[in-house]
């Protein structure tokens, strides 16, 4: 719940930034994998496949950050101590997203992802604009590029889908009973 001062990006070193980048990508991988699992469990195969694919892409990003980080010792940061703008890591699709539903369409999934990627871009952009350290600005710009590519990719995907008609989440059947 920490809201940093906009002037103070909170990120003081390259290692610190790399730790953020890594956390951001790892969170994204885990979130997409969880979403893919959820969709599989709920028999929404198409969307499951999509989330799985997004997780794969994020895994590449993790590798990328790991590569860059070679030779650095990253600091440990508690989950709630990251300098995100919001409580959540920006690139993780929101678990409170409106479209998150067992009958969601690929459109929703991509829209969710797009939103998350854009937040990722914003995070780095903010750093590039605000940080008073050159090495940080440079690295942020570099990392941002990967995210921007991802945004473009997703925009392309999204264009291929119509927004689903109203009532897409209507399930005529009642919930199933449990314990």
């Amino acid at each position: 719940m920490n809201k940093p001062d906009p002037q103070d990006t909170g990120i003081q070193s390259v290692e610190h930034l790399l730790a953020h980048a890594l956390a951001m990508e790892v969170e994204a991988v885990e979130r997409y994998e969880s979403l893919a699992d959820q969709m599989e469990t709920h028999n929404n195969r198409d969307v499951a496949a999509l989330f799985r694919k997004l997780a794969e892409i994020e895994k590449l990003h993790v590798d990328n950050v790991n590569d860059i980080s070679e030779g650095h010792t990253l600091p440990h940061i508690a989950p709630w101590e990251y300098s995100w703008e919001a409580p959540e890591s920006p690139e993780a699709p929101s678990v409170s997203a409106e479209g998150l539903h067992y009958m969601m369409h690929p459109y929703h999934a991509i829209a969710m992802a797009l939103e998350a990627e854009r937040r990722g871009v914003d995070f780095y952009d903010h750093l590039v604009a605000q940080s008073d350290r050159e090495d940080i600005r440079k690295l942020a710009a570099e990392l941002c590029e990967t995210e921007r590519e991802h945004v473009t990719l997703l925009e392309g995907w999204l264009a291929r889908f119509q927004p689903p008609p109203k009532g897409w989440n209507e399930d005529p059947d009642p919930p199933s009973l449990q314990g």
């Binding site: 469990t41 709920h42 028999n43 929404n44 195969r45 067992y102 009958m103 399930d171 005529p172 059947d173 009642p174 919930p175 199933s176 009973l177 449990q178 314990g179």
Partner: protein
């Protein structure tokens, strides 16, 4: 190829609307004068899990499943394989599915039934607002020969609130399905409906239990939700209110049972419904109802046990706790409905008996009765009411609440009756209700509480007895449906056998059962429990004639008629 009964399963994943299709088929069949029966199964997910609506349509009353299914329609194949054990197909059964509906599950394929494709998704796309499940409904209606107007009538009524567009789309979907069916391989068509004089009802066993409760006079209900008992309570909530009665949601089962004890003590016939874990929590206070002679009724809708077990599946394994779960010697009533429709009768009878005998009654229903839906001939009100013996006139001397009458039933005053104040007590007491540990009082009160149950005239309702011959099948509850069917087949194959389905499980009726089994040389006991609870109970309390075999197995799979038929055939 016409048949008197056809079995169909709709399956698909969450959102596909298989339950809706099933319900509509059931209603349509009912309107066309056919009897129909439907159970449901679904994955462990709360929503969006795979689901199956298992249906049976028949020209005569039907409230249980056949051995196998003639038709399986899968709107998609996502995870439908998990139902394979639940939907055995006939060898020439028809498996219908969408080639775009995911991978065909091997378990289903392995059964050797015929397969045919039906492109639900594609067809639905071609209709504005078209719905795969409505196409499936149409296809099945077409296959089994359900009149189009019956189906469309149901569609119209169900979608009345959804507006013109939705209705038209669904109608078109149904028609497309029916049209498609014409080109499908043949499967058994249902024989023409026998003319029904009355319009049928569509009802679940849990609703029927609720109906029986209010018919019997229940006007106070305390509720704590639990699967699969909840729906008895959920049906009662609005309907009790309409009758000027009250339902209170309690904090737990300890509270709900005591609330109904309180309300009943105050003079208002009272009931609660629960399932295994809830019943377990109630046993201490069931004993209080017995000892204080306060009438109450508890509907226990059994599910798979032990512990949390399998909440959504049926089993007859709460017989022991219902009979013996109270500490001390605490005789009480246990009544078991033996069909979906009988949930109404048995509950009403139990309510009547509880009040007549001033004791606790447990109604042992189960998930397969409670959560199944059927079209049934409207059950007439058998007239049983919760009526208590009350003291009359002015109280002359100190009121003896627990006076030791010949019948064992003592006139029971309720608050408001001047001069009849007494204290109800769960401690052993004398006739006034004053605590006593004297041997004479203890045995007098124990005798009285046992006697009132023993000497009551329960009429013919203690059991359903059918047929003759020197083989008897002894069973209870939901297992009665398949047993009855097995016996029909056995008779059709030239055998002779009786059915005795015991409705009044407690108190026991040794003389009546002996009479019912007169001349019997072989007794087959059938039940759905791992521990053979019913068989053990029979041994404990009855002398069964001739040689006895027990056929018992646990849930979650229902016992099929053929399993029982084989037992009979092999024994002959």
């Amino acid at each position: 190829m016409t048949a008197r009964s056809v079995s169909i399963t709709f399956a698909g994943s969450g959102g596909a609307g298989v339950m809706t299709a099933g319900n509509m088929l059931l209603d349509a069949a009912g309107r066309a004068g056919w009897y129909a029966y439907m159970t449901r199964s679904s994955g462990a997910q709360i929503r969006g899990g795979e689901a199956a609506a298992m249906m049976r349509l028949s020209t005569s009353p039907v409230q249980s499943h056949d051995d196998r299914f003639d038709v399986l329609v899968a709107i998609d194949w996502q995870n439908v394989g998990r139902f394979s054990a639940e939907i055995p197909m006939t060898s020439d059964g028809l498996v219908l599915g969408d080639p775009d509906g995911g991978e065909f599950p091997e378990q289903i394929g392995a059964k050797g039934a015929r397969r045919a494709d039906i492109p639900f998704k594609k067809m639905a796309k071609e209709i504005e607002g078209g719905r795969p499940n409505m196409i499936a409904l149409g296809a099945v209606a077409g296959l089994v020969g359900l009149p189009e107007d019956a189906v469309l009538g149901v569609v119209r009524d169900s979608l009345a609130k959804k507006g013109e567009a939705a209705r038209t789309a669904s109608e078109a979907s149904v028609r497309a399905g029916m049209a498609f069916a014409a080109g499908l391989p043949a499967c058994p068509r249902l024989a023409a409906a026998e003319g029904q004089s009355e319009r049928l009802w569509s009802i679940t066993g849990n609703e029927a239990a609720g109906l029986g409760a209010v018919r019997g006079g229940i006007r106070f209900v305390a509720a704590y939700p639990i699967t699969p008992g909840t729906e008895v309570l959920e049906w009662l909530a609005p309907n009790l209110a309409k009758l000027g009665g009250v339902l209170v949601q309690a904090e737990d089962e300890l509270a709900s049972i005591n609330q109904i004890i309180g309300a009943s003590y105050a003079g208002v016939p009272s009931l609660t419904a629960t399932s295994g874990p809830g019943l377990a929590l109630m046993t201490e206070s069931l004993g209080l109802a017995v000892a204080s002679e306060t009438p109450i009724t508890v509907v226990n809708v059994m599910r798979g046990g032990p512990s949390t077990g399998i909440p959504v599946k049926s089993e007859q394994s709460d017989l022991n706790i219902a009979l013996y779960g109270l500490h001390g010697d605490a005789p009480h009533l246990v009544v078991a409905p033996n069909s979906l429709a009988d949930c109404a009768f048995s509950t009403q009878w139990a309510v009547h008996l509880a009040d007549s005998l001033q004791t606790a009654a447990i109604v042992l229903s189960d998930q397969s009765l409670g959560q199944s839906r059927a079209t049934i001939a409207p059950p007439a009100d058998p007239g049983f009411r919760a009526i208590r013996l009350m003291p009359e006139g002015e109280a002359a001397e100190r009121y003896r609440r627990y006076t030791n009458t010949a019948s064992g039933v003592s006139p029971m005053a309720v608050p408001g009756m001047k001069g009849y104040q007494y204290t109800a007590d769960g401690l052993e007491h004398n006739e006034y209700g004053t605590p006593s540990s004297a041997a004479a009082d203890h045995s007098a009160q124990l005798d009285k509480r046992l006697r009132k149950l023993a000497v009551h005239d329960y009429g013919q309702h203690w059991a359903d007895i059918e047929g003759d011959g020197d083989i008897a099948v002894l069973t209870w509850g939901s297992t009665t449906g398949p047993v009855r069917e097995a016996l029909e087949r056995f008779r059709a194959s030239g055998g002779r056998a009786r059915l005795v389905s015991i409705r009044l499980i407690s108190p026991v009726r040794p003389e009546q059962l002996a009479a019912a089994l007169e001349g019997v040389a072989r007794v087959l006991v059938v039940e759905q429990s791992h521990g053979a609870q019913f068989h053990r109970y029979l041994r404990a309390h009855y002398d069964l004639p001739g040689s006895v075999r027990a056929f018992h197995r646990p849930g979650p799979l229902p016992i099929r008629p053929n399993e029982i038929f084989r037992q009979l055939a092999d024994w002959s």
